[in-house]
Amino acid sequence: MTKLMLLGQFKVDKVKDTVSIYGTEINSRLLVGSALYPSPQIMQEAIKASAAEVVTLSISRQNPLQNGGQNFWNIIQSLGVNLLPNTAGCHSVKDAVNMAKMSREIFQTDWVKLELVGDDYNLQPDPIDLVKATEILLNDGFKVLPYCTDDLVIARHLVELGCEVLMPWGSPIGTGKGLLNPYALQAIRDRFPDITLIVDSGIGLPSHAVQAMEMGVDAILLNTAIAHSNQPQQMAEAFKKSIEAGRTAYLAGPMTEQKSAQPSTPTIDSPFWHNHG
């Protein structure tokens, strides 16, 4: 409610400020993961506090063929959120495509966060195989949310294939280093103004999220920053607020940075002793 009232002051013509994922309108601009929490209960509390409406989950190590994670999936599903299955841990086009198909069957959703590991140590996405897998999955009716680097040309390939959402990294998964290359992200934003742009991975602090949102990024996906904080529920709330702040600031239109100080009050009629020469 607070958010809508605030936005009302700045953008009178737009009642609802939602983000679109292939036509599905989402109110919350924070998407979260479901790994690394100390317990499922703390995960539930944190997800509630984040107000996230989309939760991503990885099934590759749960023996999905035999529904090994069913009991855990129930815990997430009981929150009434949209599930975004991911292909974390897949190293080849074939693996990722198979994992996406399996997820679609299990969760009855055509959304997939496509993740193709190119480097095992920092989990850097493989941009070439990502484009290949994206094409196969889009042709198969999937709504692909590709986890990519901040390379503009890869982004263009993905958009040309039909991606309506891009998920470039801020920095590698789990590093919490924030936006390593704001310039590259800004370039993607500026070149694809109609694409839903979600910064995925590398966000460690609410200030990183604010920075991204101020640039006009549509949403943030994060996991470790909340799950590995000492008080996940509290940190989830902090991220929720920071993302709202960043979004509101973007809509408000920030001032332009100046080279030197410019007094915010006129000085012409100030007494001379206020001037330091």
């Binding site: 100390p38 749960q62 023996n63 994670g69 855990f72």
Partner: protein, 375 residues
């Protein structure tokens, strides 16, 4: 004499079932029921590394669990002293180390510890503690009070103790609880108390809408490495989860454990085996020629908050949900159960013991059917 003793049925002969039986058999006439044939091989406690590491575990669990673990740690020597068969118990601390590129994980681990009974160690101090470790470790943490025991020796020692006593041990018993308790489809009657500590075996009889209860997969490797001597458990930071190497007697080592939110009951996967084995080989090259004795997987029983719980409803008690902390917490939970059956009359309302852990003991009935008094 025997007929005068109150009768207790213990369901499940894993770690908790055996400890309860040993603790109760002096004052009660105990009958022990289990689905396995008496060797505990289907029990989660059979696979565990039996680390007694309240501080180390506190990085990923609550302050209350750490305190329960610290209390339990002081209780182990007394419990082991009750057994005629010796059980390997060691309190020489634990060492936490990380490769250079995983230093952030070590810092993160340190910042999440909920106590301060540890100190940072540099490479020469690490060498002093563990002279055989590869010399590449520049920094680590030493937690001087952590302990461990040999779980298989303990399970066996308790079995010997129980068999010496007048305990009816019913192996290969199929147990089912709905409106009543059934053993091999025959109703169990005539007991003053029935204590259910079947671990994950509870899942078939629990009402999941009342209490969430799940299995969390773990994979463990056991090796015999005559070329390796470690003086204490070593925890190696890993970008995704810490791996520990726990030295037991005679150069036996337990390397574990993965933690996956899955009820997959297959044998360990190649990925997990690679992670565990490369972890031990990377800290000590002497593991190269070690014999792999076993690679096992099991499911840890856990409630939604990963905290253990004792449910008392009429004359029935359920102790469960010890998650990855079976050995860490068992003495405290056993003591609480013994208090219940010794002090409480069956109709007492049990209050939650907030001094130990909020919600540890409740009067809730998590079974699918309401219980009936069986005595």
């Amino acid at each position: 004499m025997l007929a005068d003793k109150p009768k207790v049925a213990v369901l499940g002969a894993g770690l908790l079932g055996r400890m309860l039986t040993v603790s109760l058999m002096d004052d009660f006439q105990v009958s022990l029921f289990d689905k396995d044939d008496g060797d505990a091989k289907q029990s989660a406690g059979y696979l565990a590394a039996a680390m007694l590491a309240p501080l180390g575990e506190s990085a990923d669990s609550s302050l209350e669990i750490m305190r329960l673990g610290q209390k339990a740690l002081t209780m182990w020597p007394d419990f082991l002293a009750k057994l005629d068969t010796p059980v390997y118990f060691q309190q020489a601390g634990s060492l936490v180390i990380a490769f250079e590129q995983d230093m952030a994980a070590l810092n993160q681990f340190q910042s999440r510890l909920k106590g301060d009974d540890y100190h940072s160690v540099n490479s020469s101090e690490i060498q002093k503690l563990e002279p055989e470790l590869m010399q590449r470790f520049q920094a680590g943490l030493y937690l001087p009070n952590e302990a461990q025991l040999d779980n298989r020796q303990l399970l066996n020692a308790m079995a010997i103790q129980i068999r010496k006593f007048d305990v009816a041990w019913h192996s290969n018993s199929h147990i089912r609880v709905d409106d009543g308790v059934y053993v091999n489809d025959k109703p169990l009657t005539g007991f003053d108390w029935i204590i259910d500590c079947r671990g994950l075996g509870l899942q078939q009889d629990i009402d999941l809408s009342k209490t969430h209860f799940r299995g969390v997969r773990g994979e463990v490797v056991r090796v015999h490495a005559p070329d390796v001597t470690l003086n204490r458990p070593v925890r190696l930071m890993h970008p995704r989860y810490p791996i520990y190497i726990a030295p037991k007697e005679n150069h036996h080592f337990v390397i574990g454990a993965t933690q996956l939110e899955s009820e997959d009951t297959r044998k360990p996967t190649v990925r997990s085996a690679l992670e565990l084995l490369s972890a031990c080989f990377s800290v000590h090259s002497g593991f190269a020629e070690a014999e792999i004795l076993s690679m096992d997987s099991g499911l840890r029983p856990a409630y939604l908050d990963n905290h253990p719980k004792i449910h008392q409803n009429d004359n029935r008690i359920i102790v469960n949900g010890l998650f990855r902390h079976g050995y860490l917490l068992a003495p405290v939970l056993v003591e609480e159960c013994v208090k219940l059956v010794k002090k409480a009359t069956k109709n007492d309302v049990v209050e939650s013991r907030s001094d130990l852990l909020p919600g540890l003991v409740t009067s809730m009935n998590p079974y699918q059917s309401s219980s009936v008094n069986l005595s």
